[in-house]
Protein backbone atom coordinates (compact mmCIF):
# COMPACT_ATOMS: atom_id res chain seq x y z
CA UNK A 1 0.00 0.00 0.00
CA UNK A 2 1.26 3.43 -0.94
CA UNK A 3 0.28 6.60 0.84
CA UNK A 4 -1.58 8.82 -1.61
CA UNK A 5 -0.62 12.21 -0.14
CA UNK A 6 2.27 12.33 2.29
CA UNK A 7 2.78 14.81 5.11
CA UNK A 8 4.66 17.72 3.51
CA UNK A 9 8.41 17.68 4.14
CA UNK A 10 8.19 21.38 4.99
CA UNK A 11 6.27 20.47 8.14
CA UNK A 12 7.90 18.96 11.20
CA UNK A 13 6.35 15.90 12.83
CA UNK A 14 5.09 17.95 15.78
CA UNK A 15 1.29 17.79 16.24
CA UNK A 16 -0.36 21.24 16.07
CA UNK A 17 -1.37 22.87 19.35
CA UNK A 18 -4.45 24.43 17.74
CA UNK A 19 -7.91 23.68 19.15
CA UNK A 20 -10.01 20.87 17.59
CA UNK A 21 -11.47 22.04 14.28
CA UNK A 22 -9.29 25.15 14.04
CA UNK A 23 -8.45 25.83 10.42
CA UNK A 24 -4.92 27.05 11.09
CA UNK A 25 -3.78 23.44 10.64
CA UNK A 26 -5.25 23.33 7.15
CA UNK A 27 -3.59 26.61 6.21
CA UNK A 28 -0.25 25.44 7.62
CA UNK A 29 -0.53 22.33 5.47
CA UNK A 30 -1.38 24.27 2.31
CA UNK A 31 1.59 26.59 2.81
CA UNK A 32 3.90 23.63 3.44
CA UNK A 33 2.57 21.90 0.32
CA UNK A 34 3.36 25.00 -1.74
CA UNK A 35 6.91 25.12 -0.34
CA UNK A 36 7.33 21.42 -1.15
CA UNK A 37 5.92 21.88 -4.63
CA UNK A 38 8.61 24.38 -5.58
CA UNK A 39 11.23 22.63 -3.46
CA UNK A 40 11.71 25.72 -1.32
CA UNK A 41 12.07 24.31 2.18
CA UNK A 42 15.81 24.90 2.41
CA UNK A 43 15.65 28.43 1.06
CA UNK A 44 12.63 29.74 2.91
CA UNK A 45 12.41 32.10 5.85
CA UNK A 46 9.08 32.23 7.64
CA UNK A 47 8.12 35.28 9.66
CA UNK A 48 5.85 34.37 12.55
CA UNK A 49 3.41 36.88 13.96
CA UNK A 50 1.74 37.25 17.34
CA UNK A 51 -1.41 35.30 18.02
CA UNK A 52 -2.29 31.63 17.68
CA UNK A 53 0.12 31.30 14.77
CA UNK A 54 3.17 32.43 16.77
CA UNK A 55 4.34 28.81 17.06
CA UNK A 56 4.91 28.60 13.31
CA UNK A 57 8.49 27.66 14.08
CA UNK A 58 7.45 24.49 15.84
CA UNK A 59 5.62 23.25 12.77
CA UNK A 60 7.54 24.49 9.73
CA UNK A 61 10.91 22.92 9.04
CA UNK A 62 12.30 26.24 7.81
CA UNK A 63 14.22 29.14 9.36
CA UNK A 64 11.84 31.39 11.26
CA UNK A 65 11.97 34.89 12.70
CA UNK A 66 9.37 35.85 15.28
CA UNK A 67 8.11 39.37 14.60
CA UNK A 68 6.61 41.82 17.09
CA UNK A 69 2.83 42.07 16.96
CA UNK A 70 1.75 43.44 13.58
CA UNK A 71 5.27 43.99 12.26
CA UNK A 72 5.75 40.77 10.30
CA UNK A 73 5.70 42.43 6.89
CA UNK A 74 8.26 45.03 8.01
CA UNK A 75 10.51 42.27 9.39
CA UNK A 76 10.03 40.29 6.17
CA UNK A 77 10.94 43.39 4.18
CA UNK A 78 14.25 43.69 6.03
CA UNK A 79 15.05 40.02 5.53
CA UNK A 80 14.08 39.93 1.86
CA UNK A 81 16.04 43.10 1.06
CA UNK A 82 19.16 41.25 2.19
CA UNK A 83 18.34 37.72 1.02
CA UNK A 84 16.92 38.48 -2.40
CA UNK A 85 17.28 34.92 -3.66
CA UNK A 86 15.54 33.34 -0.69
CA UNK A 87 11.80 32.97 -0.17
CA UNK A 88 10.30 35.03 2.64
CA UNK A 89 6.72 34.67 3.81
CA UNK A 90 4.69 36.01 6.69
CA UNK A 91 1.79 34.25 8.32
CA UNK A 92 -0.47 36.66 10.17
CA UNK A 93 -3.84 36.64 11.83
CA UNK A 94 -6.55 39.30 11.59
CA UNK A 95 -5.57 41.15 14.76
CA UNK A 96 -1.93 41.15 13.75
CA UNK A 97 -2.34 42.18 10.13
CA UNK A 98 -5.61 44.12 10.00
CA UNK A 99 -5.45 46.05 13.30
CA UNK A 100 -2.04 46.69 14.86
CA UNK A 101 -0.11 45.95 11.66
CA UNK A 102 -2.25 47.86 9.17
CA UNK A 103 0.42 50.43 8.32
CA UNK A 104 3.11 47.82 7.82
CA UNK A 105 1.05 45.60 5.51
CA UNK A 106 -0.23 48.48 3.38
CA UNK A 107 3.23 49.86 2.79
CA UNK A 108 4.86 46.49 2.18
CA UNK A 109 2.12 45.85 -0.39
CA UNK A 110 2.45 49.29 -1.89
CA UNK A 111 6.21 48.86 -2.30
CA UNK A 112 5.52 45.58 -4.04
CA UNK A 113 7.96 43.81 -1.71
CA UNK A 114 8.76 40.44 -3.22
CA UNK A 115 7.32 38.52 -0.28
CA UNK A 116 4.29 36.30 0.26
CA UNK A 117 1.76 37.14 2.94
CA UNK A 118 -0.70 34.56 4.26
CA UNK A 119 -3.47 36.33 6.15
CA UNK A 120 -5.69 34.10 8.27
CA UNK A 121 -9.03 35.78 8.91
CA UNK A 122 -11.15 33.99 11.50
CA UNK A 123 -12.98 37.14 12.61
CA UNK A 124 -11.80 36.94 16.23
CA UNK A 125 -8.75 37.22 18.49
CA UNK A 126 -7.97 33.60 19.28
CA UNK A 127 -4.86 33.61 21.46
CA UNK A 128 -6.09 36.26 23.88
CA UNK A 129 -9.41 34.54 24.34
CA UNK A 130 -12.02 35.70 21.87
CA UNK A 131 -12.02 39.50 21.74
CA UNK A 132 -13.32 41.55 18.80
CA UNK A 133 -11.09 41.54 15.73
CA UNK A 134 -11.16 44.19 12.99
CA UNK A 135 -12.82 41.48 10.88
CA UNK A 136 -15.44 40.49 13.46
CA UNK A 137 -18.82 40.41 11.71
CA UNK A 138 -21.59 42.89 12.53
CA UNK A 139 -23.64 41.45 15.34
CA UNK A 140 -20.99 38.86 16.17
CA UNK A 141 -20.53 38.36 19.87
CA UNK A 142 -17.04 38.36 21.28
CA UNK A 143 -15.77 38.91 24.81
CA UNK A 144 -15.39 42.63 24.05
CA UNK A 145 -18.59 42.89 22.02
CA UNK A 146 -20.81 40.94 24.42
CA UNK A 147 -23.94 42.41 22.80
CA UNK A 148 -22.64 41.94 19.27
CA UNK A 149 -20.46 44.14 17.07
CA UNK A 150 -22.28 47.40 16.43
CA UNK A 151 -21.06 49.55 13.55
CA UNK A 152 -22.02 52.73 15.43
CA UNK A 153 -19.41 51.88 18.02
CA UNK A 154 -16.95 49.51 16.34
CA UNK A 155 -17.17 50.23 12.64
CA UNK A 156 -17.43 47.54 10.02
CA UNK A 157 -15.48 44.34 9.43
CA UNK A 158 -12.43 45.45 7.48
CA UNK A 159 -11.86 44.11 3.97
CA UNK A 160 -8.08 43.93 3.67
CA UNK A 161 -8.06 42.09 0.37
CA UNK A 162 -10.16 44.77 -1.32
CA UNK A 163 -8.01 47.50 0.24
CA UNK A 164 -4.74 45.98 -0.94
CA UNK A 165 -6.14 45.16 -4.38
CA UNK A 166 -6.74 48.89 -4.83
CA UNK A 167 -2.99 49.59 -4.59
CA UNK A 168 -0.64 49.67 -7.57
CA UNK A 169 2.11 47.73 -5.79
CA UNK A 170 0.84 44.18 -5.23
CA UNK A 171 1.10 41.53 -7.90
CA UNK A 172 -1.35 38.97 -6.54
CA UNK A 173 -4.17 39.69 -4.11
CA UNK A 174 -6.72 36.97 -3.43
CA UNK A 175 -9.20 35.70 -0.90
CA UNK A 176 -9.84 32.01 -0.36
CA UNK A 177 -11.59 29.89 2.26
CA UNK A 178 -10.99 26.47 3.74
CA UNK A 179 -14.53 25.70 4.81
CA UNK A 180 -15.13 22.80 2.43
CA UNK A 181 -13.10 20.43 0.28
CA UNK A 182 -13.66 22.30 -2.98
CA UNK A 183 -12.57 25.58 -1.39
CA UNK A 184 -9.54 23.94 0.21
CA UNK A 185 -8.50 22.79 -3.27
CA UNK A 186 -8.88 26.32 -4.63
CA UNK A 187 -6.98 27.72 -1.67
CA UNK A 188 -4.18 25.25 -2.32
CA UNK A 189 -3.94 26.40 -5.92
CA UNK A 190 -3.86 30.09 -5.06
CA UNK A 191 -1.40 29.75 -2.19
CA UNK A 192 0.86 27.83 -4.54
CA UNK A 193 0.46 30.61 -7.11
CA UNK A 194 1.37 33.19 -4.46
CA UNK A 195 4.69 31.48 -3.81
CA UNK A 196 5.22 31.08 -7.54
CA UNK A 197 4.97 34.86 -7.92
CA UNK A 198 7.81 35.26 -5.44
CA UNK A 199 9.90 32.50 -7.03
CA UNK A 200 9.56 34.33 -10.34
CA UNK A 201 10.46 37.70 -8.73
CA UNK A 202 7.05 39.07 -9.59
CA UNK A 203 6.53 40.95 -6.35
CA UNK A 204 4.07 41.11 -3.50
CA UNK A 205 1.56 38.28 -3.16
CA UNK A 206 -1.21 38.24 -0.58
CA UNK A 207 -3.73 35.53 0.21
CA UNK A 208 -6.48 36.06 2.76
CA UNK A 209 -7.82 32.77 4.08
CA UNK A 210 -11.27 32.76 5.67
CA UNK A 211 -11.20 30.25 8.47
CA UNK A 212 -12.98 29.07 11.57
CA UNK A 213 -12.27 29.47 15.27
CA UNK A 214 -14.77 27.06 16.82
CA UNK A 215 -13.53 27.61 20.39
CA UNK A 216 -13.94 31.38 20.47
CA UNK A 217 -17.05 31.35 18.34
CA UNK A 218 -18.61 28.96 20.85
CA UNK A 219 -19.48 26.49 18.11
CA UNK A 220 -18.76 22.91 17.18
CA UNK A 221 -16.23 22.52 14.37
CA UNK A 222 -19.09 21.61 12.03
CA UNK A 223 -21.13 24.69 12.98
CA UNK A 224 -18.06 26.89 12.71
CA UNK A 225 -17.18 25.60 9.27
CA UNK A 226 -20.75 26.23 8.17
CA UNK A 227 -20.57 29.76 9.53
CA UNK A 228 -17.59 30.48 7.28
CA UNK A 229 -19.71 29.38 4.29
CA UNK A 230 -22.96 31.04 5.32
CA UNK A 231 -21.87 34.28 7.00
CA UNK A 232 -18.28 35.13 6.16
CA UNK A 233 -18.07 34.31 2.45
CA UNK A 234 -21.09 36.47 1.52
CA UNK A 235 -19.45 39.49 3.21
CA UNK A 236 -15.87 38.59 2.24
CA UNK A 237 -16.24 37.35 -1.35
CA UNK A 238 -13.72 34.81 -2.61
CA UNK A 239 -11.55 35.18 -5.66
CA UNK A 240 -8.42 36.66 -7.18
CA UNK A 241 -8.97 40.41 -6.93
CA UNK A 242 -5.76 41.45 -8.53
CA UNK A 243 -3.12 39.76 -10.58
CA UNK A 244 -0.28 41.29 -12.51
CA UNK A 245 1.24 39.04 -15.12
CA UNK A 246 3.77 41.54 -16.22
CA UNK A 247 5.60 43.29 -13.46
CA UNK A 248 6.67 46.89 -13.79
CA UNK A 249 10.38 47.29 -14.15
CA UNK A 250 11.99 50.62 -13.45
Amino acid sequence: MKQVVKRPASLTEKPFHFCPGCHHGIVHRLVAEALDFFNLREKTIGVASVGCSVFLYDYFAVDVIEAPHGRASAVATGTKRVLKDQIVFTYQGDGDLAAIGTAEIIHAANRGENITVIFVNNSIYGMTGGQMAPTTMLGQRSTTTPYGRDYHRDGYPIKMTEMLAALEGPSLVARVAVDKPANVKKARKIIRQAFQMQVEDKGFSFVEVLSACPTNWGMTPQEATKRVSDEMIPYFPLGVLKQKDVVDVL
Binding site: Q3, V4, P15, K185
Partner: protein
Protein backbone atom coordinates in the same frame (compact mmCIF):
# COMPACT_ATOMS: atom_id res chain seq x y z
CA UNK B 1 -5.35 0.65 -13.64
CA UNK B 2 -7.90 3.43 -13.48
CA UNK B 3 -8.73 5.18 -10.26
CA UNK B 4 -12.03 3.30 -10.13
CA UNK B 5 -10.34 -0.08 -9.92
CA UNK B 6 -7.91 0.98 -7.22
CA UNK B 7 -8.37 -0.22 -3.68
CA UNK B 8 -8.01 2.44 -1.04
CA UNK B 9 -7.68 2.32 2.67
CA UNK B 10 -7.81 5.01 5.32
CA UNK B 11 -5.68 5.18 8.43
CA UNK B 12 -5.94 7.62 11.29
CA UNK B 13 -2.85 8.79 13.13
CA UNK B 14 -4.70 8.44 16.36
CA UNK B 15 -2.43 10.65 18.44
CA UNK B 16 -2.71 13.51 15.97
CA UNK B 17 -6.51 13.40 15.87
CA UNK B 18 -8.40 15.90 18.01
CA UNK B 19 -11.81 14.47 17.22
CA UNK B 20 -13.09 17.60 15.47
CA UNK B 21 -15.22 15.34 13.27
CA UNK B 22 -14.69 17.32 10.06
CA UNK B 23 -13.54 14.22 8.17
CA UNK B 24 -16.59 12.33 9.44
CA UNK B 25 -18.81 15.20 8.33
CA UNK B 26 -17.39 15.49 4.82
CA UNK B 27 -16.85 11.81 3.93
CA UNK B 28 -19.85 10.95 1.82
CA UNK B 29 -18.98 7.24 1.78
CA UNK B 30 -19.43 6.69 5.50
CA UNK B 31 -15.88 5.44 5.90
CA UNK B 32 -15.27 7.33 9.10
CA UNK B 33 -17.00 7.58 12.42
CA UNK B 34 -16.10 9.17 15.71
CA UNK B 35 -14.82 6.49 18.04
CA UNK B 36 -16.39 6.03 21.48
CA UNK B 37 -12.82 5.63 22.78
CA UNK B 38 -10.38 8.36 23.78
CA UNK B 39 -6.85 8.78 22.46
CA UNK B 40 -3.85 9.71 24.60
CA UNK B 41 -4.79 13.42 24.43
CA UNK B 42 -8.32 12.71 25.59
CA UNK B 43 -10.09 13.15 22.28
CA UNK B 44 -12.68 10.88 20.69
CA UNK B 45 -10.67 10.15 17.58
CA UNK B 46 -11.98 9.47 14.09
CA UNK B 47 -12.14 5.79 13.25
CA UNK B 48 -12.25 4.28 9.74
CA UNK B 49 -15.09 1.85 10.44
CA UNK B 50 -15.82 1.04 6.78
CA UNK B 51 -12.45 1.34 5.03
CA UNK B 52 -13.74 -0.79 2.14
CA UNK B 53 -16.07 2.09 1.17
CA UNK B 54 -13.18 4.47 0.45
CA UNK B 55 -13.08 5.73 -3.12
CA UNK B 56 -9.88 7.75 -2.71
CA UNK B 57 -11.57 11.15 -3.10
CA UNK B 58 -9.17 12.60 -0.48
CA UNK B 59 -11.82 14.86 1.00
CA UNK B 60 -10.91 13.68 4.50
CA UNK B 61 -7.28 14.70 4.05
CA UNK B 62 -8.31 18.05 2.62
CA UNK B 63 -10.45 19.05 5.58
CA UNK B 64 -8.41 17.49 8.41
CA UNK B 65 -6.69 20.37 10.24
CA UNK B 66 -4.26 18.03 11.98
CA UNK B 67 -2.91 15.85 9.18
CA UNK B 68 -4.28 12.89 11.09
CA UNK B 69 -5.90 11.14 8.12
CA UNK B 70 -3.81 9.08 5.75
CA UNK B 71 -5.14 7.49 2.58
CA UNK B 72 -3.34 4.54 0.99
CA UNK B 73 -3.85 2.91 -2.38
CA UNK B 74 -2.82 -0.43 -3.78
Amino acid sequence: MSKKDKVFSVKIRRDYCKGCGLCVEFCKQGVLETSPNLNSMGYYYADPVKPENCIGCMVCTLVCPDLAVEVYSE
